[in-house]
């Protein structure tokens, strides 16, 4: 099939960007979306033009590197699918595809479709862990965890940190990302001692980074390639109120 691509090109964060049009010819339905872009890039290079920059690495939907707005939808039209796992059979001959980077104040553009998501790392730094040093851990079976708690923790822990939730949210809120980590650790006994300071710290960091607030549009869970439920935001809000009421602080 042949497709027309309109792609956001921006040489660097300091430059202004604009949409450029490219033809993608002889696209196989079995190609992934990124393989289609690889082929376009090969042609751009051989015709003396600059290839389109985009983040990608594992190409099996787990590293969270890739992500772009495809026709205005984070990671494109297929549910529960990261961009690298989206295949061209989802499109048809003659389609026009609009490709843009994640757009959020807290994710500044670096180049073309590449954005800076280091804000996510800084949110984790404010408490997205269990403070245990290496060594001295008790036997794994000394900490019993019921199957449903373990499963709920795993559901939330499946987050790949791609940023689609932020990109899909009209407020550019990172609540789904943050709520996922809070829910993962909050469902486990190991996460209890730091539960209050974790939620206070991580929520505060979201504000510092310039992410918006959650106003329950629910777009995040629709865009999430790992289908993380908006319930994790409920959990985060619950924990935040409880922690605030207990007067805990992040010191």
């Amino acid at each position: 099939m042949n497709l027309k691509l309109r792609v956001w090109r921006q040489p660097s964060g300091k430059d202004t960007g604009r949409l450029e049009t490219y033809e993608a010819r002889d696209v196989s339905p079995d190609m992934s979306f990124l393989e289609m872009l690889d082929v376009v890039n090969e042609e751009l290079i051989t015709t003396g033009k600059r290839p389109i920059a985009f983040d990608h690495d594992c190409r099996e939907g787990i590293c969270g590197s890739c992500g772009m707005m495809i026709n205005g939808v984070a990671h494109g039209p297929q549910r529960a699918t990261a961009t690298c796992q989206l295949h061209m059979r989802t499109f048809k001959d003659g389609d026009e595809i609009l490709i843009e980077p994640w757009r959020a104040q807290a994710f500044p553009i670096i180049k073309d479709l590449v954005v800076d998501r280091s804000a996510f790392d800084r949110i984790i730094q404010r408490g997205g862990y269990v403070s245990v040093n290496t060594g001295g851990a008790p036997d794994g079976n000394d900490i019993l965890i019921g199957k449903s708690n373990a499963d709920n923790a795993m559901d939330a822990a499946a987050c790949i940190g791609c940023g689609a939730c932020v990109a899909a949210c009209p407020n550019a809120s990172s609540s789904l990302f943050t709520g996922a980590k809070i829910t993962h650790l909050g469902n486990l006994p190991q996460g209890q001692p730091e539960r209050d300071r974790r939620v206070i710290g991580m929520v505060e960091q979201m504000d510092i980074e310039g992410f918006g607030n959650c106003s329950w549009f629910g777009e995040c869970q629709e865009a999430c390639p790992k289908e993380i439920s908006i319930d994790v935001i409920k959990q985060m809000n619950h924990d935040y109120v409880a922690a605030s009421a207990r007067g805990s602080n992040n010191e």
Binding site: D30, C58, I62, G135, G140, L185
Partner: protein
């Protein structure tokens, strides 16, 4: 070159404890005086950086990805082995050690493999304490499953995302230390060279991938945890960015490269579908717990799988290896798939595929149970192939996956360069000629959490490490060499893209140095690779400049190193005329086609020493001595 493995004396079971007592310690107050560079932030790198910083060392950690959480350890699916014997099925440290040694076809260093099995139990405890959500039974206890090459159930897992959860555990430990200001993290930064001063590793030269700026970093020791080199095959299960540049540059600065020809071809990957293909996707080995592998008995049988009656199917693994059935080790299972496809019995459009069928398991256990165990893998398969594995058998084929070879290290994980360490897949030490499933995660975390934190202290405490800074000529000269190399890449302005050359290299490696190798093919590769390298340096087209984010330039640097490493792999494969584990020389096989070792001539580690550009590298040998076990012929029948 002298290869001193520094394996401690004494009984196998006591070596590590005795060694920990014998090696020197750095006083807690003195640790902050020492700085360590860690390159790579996967399981080995992140766990090492976090743990060393917890001990008090000043740490700088580097990764080329935009966040340490994206390192390719994240893609490991099936699980992590540990000799906990929670299942009461006869497991023990010694059994895990023996399985590892046997799985590796007796080509690993006994003492290292034993230590790995010993430390496996600590890893699970550590990860549980961090909040890694391992699968649990209803009673709250940790669950296990089986993996290839073992007859006990010792694999711990977090659905099909075990690597992700273990990496996030290590990543979170690392972020905890970054938040305290004890680790400085450099994401989107790629190591391009190692800097040596007075014969010791004293720092690295890196490129900031956003600005293009070349920078130097000095330290008292350098730890490489940069993963493997399967991408030399172009198509592999590795991430697109996975590369060998750090270890290759270390090799060219004097670190011996061990057993480069030991490359693992994983039996269960989604087959290639077209020329544009950019990577191969693994389907976890754990699927072989419940899936049955078969091909039609008749050549060229093009009927849809569901129309082929059971009597006309060849469940060849169960037929050939009744004791292990579908759960044989990877090398043997991969070769068996190649064999039936070579016979013309492969399935799918290309004929390079075999079925992995869940129909019997679904009948026995119900679709719900299968979905609980493998749901995410089935979904991934369907997204890629548009076929539903609940109703149509999966099609799978072997693909390059893991490299057992890597930088030679001693028992302390130090390379032949003083002060330079290699951890995880980047070193060679624990898996011999073939790695068992669920053992890569185990080794990465053992090295990072529990080995290097002890052994690096011994080096630092012995003293003699002078103070250095990045204004010294050794740093400036290396920076200049890197800048010259970069401008050379950008100025060739030829006709071929980096990817097209990389793909061609991949074909050469796959055809002549892949699942089976022979003398004529290897000689052919030895002709073709230098020609392709010449073509790269005269006709490659790298667009853009060196002062911006330039992904084509990044790729060009990595491929230029693969073009050299590929040749070393071929040389090593030529030298080793025996078959062992994943290295199958067609000239050396038993009458029924199994790998035939030659212990008399090849019970050694081949450690290659760089001799200069365009010079044949020097082969050094570390003899492998086995004190606790008898060398036997592997038998999975």
């Amino acid at each position: 070159m002298e290869l001193n493995s520094k394996v401690p004396p004494g009984p196998l079971t006591e070596k590590w404890d005795q060694h920990k007592f014998d090696i020197k310690l750095v006083n807690p107050a003195n640790k902050r005086k020492y700085s360590v560079i860690v390159v790579g932030s996967g399981l080995a790198g992140a766990s090492a950086a976090a743990t060393l910083s917890e001990l008090g060392y000043r740490i700088k950690c580097f990764c080329f990805q935009d966040s340490p959480r994206r390192a390719h350890s994240i893609a490991a699916q099936g699980g992590i082995n540990a000799a906990k014997n929670y299942q009461n099925d006869g497991d023990s440290v010694f059994r895990l050690f023996y399985d590892t040694l046997k799985g590796g076809d007796f080509r690993s260093r006994e003492a290292n493999s034993y230590r790995l099995a010993q430390l496996s139990v600590n890893i699970i405890d550590q990860c549980v304490a961090q909040g890694v959500p391992f699968a649990r039974e209803y009673g709250g206890h940790l669950a296990n499953r089986s993996f290839g090459g073992a007859q006990v159930s010792r694999t711990f897992y977090a659905r099909g995302q075990t690597g992700q959860q273990l990496l996030l555990g290590a990543y979170q430990a690392l972020e905890k230390q970054i938040a305290k200001g004890l680790v400085t993290m450099y994401p989107r930064t790629e190591m391009l060279d190692l800097v040596m001063i007075d014969g010791r590793a004293r720092g690295i030269v890196v490129r900031n991938l956003i600005t293009g700026k070349i920078e130097s970093h000095a330290a008292d020791a350098v730890v490489l945890a940069t993963g493997g080199y399967s991408n030399v095959f172009y198509l592999s299960t590795n991430a697109r960015g996975s590369n060998a540049t750090a270890i290759w540059r270390a090799y060219k600065r004097g670190a011996a490269f061990a057993n480069p020809c030991y490359t693992q071809i994983h039996p269960t990957c989604i087959p290639v579908s077209g020329d544009y293909q950019s990577k191969l996707t693994l389907m976890s080995e754990s699927l072989r717990n419940d899936g049955r592998v078969w091909v039609p008995k008749a050549k060229g049988d093009k009927r849809p799988p569901n129309e082929i009656p059971p009597a006309e199917r060849d469940y060849y693994l169960e037929r050939k290896y009744p004791a292990f059935g579908n759960l044989g080790p990877r090398d043997i299972t991969s070769r068996a798939a190649k064999e039936v496809c070579d016979e013309g019995r492969g399935v799918g459009e290309s004929g390079r595929g075999v079925y992995l069928d869940f129909a019997d398991a679904i009948k026995r256990l119900g679709a719900d149970t299968i979905s609980e165990r493998y749901g995410n893998l089935f979904e991934m398969y369907e997204r890629i192939t548009a076929e539903n594995p609940y109703t149509v058998p999966m099609r799978i084929y072997p693909a390059p996956h893991y490299t057992m070879g890597g930088l030679w290290v001693d028992y302390n994980l130090m390379t032949t360069v003083p002060g330079l360490y290699a951890l995880g897949e980047a070193n060679f030490s624990d898996h011999g000629a073939n790695r068992l499933g669920a053992s890569a995660l185990m080794q990465g975390l053992a090295d990072g959490y529990f080995v290097i934190p002890y052994t690096i202290g011994d080096y630092l405490a012995r003293g003699g490490i002078n103070s250095v800074n990045t204004d010294m000529p050794e740093f400036k000269n290396t920076e200049r060499e890197i800048a010259e190399r970069t401008s050379r890449l950008l100025s060739i302005d030829g006709k071929r893209t980096v990817d097209s050359i990389h793909r061609e290299l991949g074909h050469i490696m796959w055809d002549y140095c892949g699942m089976s190798r022979n003398d004529a093919g290897l000689h052919k590769a030895l002709e073709l690779i230098p020609q392709l390298r010449e073509e790269f340096w005269t006709d490659v087209n790298v667009p853009g400049s060196d002062v911006e984010l330039n992904q084509a330039l990044e790729k060009a640097g990595r491929v230029s190193d693969f073009l050299e490493l590929g040749e070393l792999m071929v040389r090593d494969a030529l030298n080793r005329t025996e078959s062992c584990g994943a290295h199958f020389r067609e000239e050396s096989q038993t009458p029924d086609g199994e790998a035939l070792r030659d212990d008399e001539h090849f019970a050694y580690v081949a450690a290659w020493e760089y001799a200069g550009a365009d010079k044949t590298p020097i082969l050094n040998k570390e003899p492998l001595e086995f004190e606790s076990i008898h060398l036997s012929t592997r038998n999975y029948k």
